[in-house]
């Protein structure tokens, strides 16, 4: 059976303005690879309701899972929960279990849980909460859309709790070989290895360290035997390139 597929949707003007360097995508990518869920696409959109709704709907119909990051705090620019509810055509309101979780954050919840903070207990109808061990305000899963915070510490904690609940597949395995040749000399023989091992995705990532040109060859596959065979073929190719003419 093929692995489940996934997309990530990052929401936030701060990413598209270049103010904030996103790190949530690569974190999620590694967690999904280990769980056997294939991350196929990532999108970043601004804090604009129509864009968020359209992206959620485009991605949730195409992939088995959609993971979102950002826009679930208490301020006016946090509109993700409303947009996900709108994308599914369901209502959204303060939910008692979410309010109770939030209340544990405050010394005096009657006063401290002001209207802004209560926004973080607004959960779309039919959603399941995602635990937030860092700052309490929960994320949620609605259908195949998993809505999480943008703050990396919170996002990562939510991912850690969520992923074990999802049905995964075969982990994406990888092997890296370092080649001390410029990419232009590797390309021909490496292409032959790639054609002979179609089950293995082979990437070539050049580097230039202190004037030494080389490349990291990264092999990725779900099948350990296929990966091992491609790795051996790549190593043999490198050995042949190194041999004196």
């Amino acid at each position: 059976m093929p692995n489940p597929t996934a997309a990530m949707l990052t929401i936030g003007d701060e990413i598209l303005s270049g103010r904030t360097q996103d790190t949530n995508m690569s974190h999620l990518a590694r967690a999904l690879a280990a769980a056997g869920i294939d991350l196929r696409e990532a999108r970043t959109v601004p804090d604009v309701a129509a864009e968020i709704v359209a992206s959620v709907n485009a991605l949730r119909t195409r992939y088995d899972h959609v993971f979102t990051s950002g826009g679930i705090g208490p301020t006016h620019d946090d509109i993700t929960a409303d947009c996900v509810a709108a994308a599914f055509g369901v209502g959204i309101d303060v939910r008692e279990d979410a309010r109770a979780i939030l209340a544990t954050n405050y010394a005096n919840p009657e006063v401290d849980l002001n209207p802004a903070r209560l926004r973080m207990a607004r959960i779309p109808e039919g959603a399941t909460l995602i635990d937030n061990p860092v700052s309490k305000a929960p994320g949620f899963s609605l259908g195949n859309v998993h809505v999480m915070a943008g703050v990396p510490k919170v996002f990562e904690a939510m991912v850690a709790g969520l992923i074990p609940r999802l049905t995964g597949g075969r982990p994406l395995l990888s092997a890296t070989l370092r080649a001390d040749f410029p990419e232009g000399l590797l390309a021909g023989p490496l292409g032959e290895v790639a054609r002979a091992h179609p089950e293995v995705a082979i990437g070539c990532y050049p580097f230039d360290r202190n004037g030494v040109f080389g490349a990291n060859l990264v092999l990725r596959a779900q099948d350990p035997a296929a990966l091992a065979a491609a790795e051996a073929a790549t190593q043999a190719m490198l050995d042949a390139l190194r041999a004196p003419a």
Copy 2:
């Protein structure tokens, strides 16, 4: 006149697998903000031709500019140039000016410009070259699609050469105010400031530094007067929150 709009398309398995942390998007974002070109969306897709072609076509019809990163090297997984040609329905072949530029990289071009390296001189019909002062192999602009390398040093050099050729608009200005209050207390009054200043996008980015909860308030606008007015209103709001009850 409204600013031109833009999208970024990042191409590469290494990003979606989490192996490589992308930094090109935030670099481009800052360059575009300074040039008055509005980055509205970013997508990341794998080294899969159908995905690249579909994304190029979706984005180029929707935005004034599309900037791509990755997949223009000499190896078998570098398929971006072919995919962009396919998206536009034009041919692609080795072009003499690109080959001449590439040749300057090698001591003995007759021998060193092997078939793999010559792939980097394959340019779609009708494209304009983008200069690569780092490693010579050029990028190109075809219509409103600007195709650049994935290696950050090369990508950044190409952006520096390309942006001045494009017609920009009003730069995106920003101001940041640091608030020493938790987000949940800021949210109400900040929302009122945001509603009173609809020309200014106001983002609230919480932090927790050694147990001190606060937030950076980032105001973004094209109009300096609108930005200054919103900044003054935000400052007044913060002063009021600080005043003893």
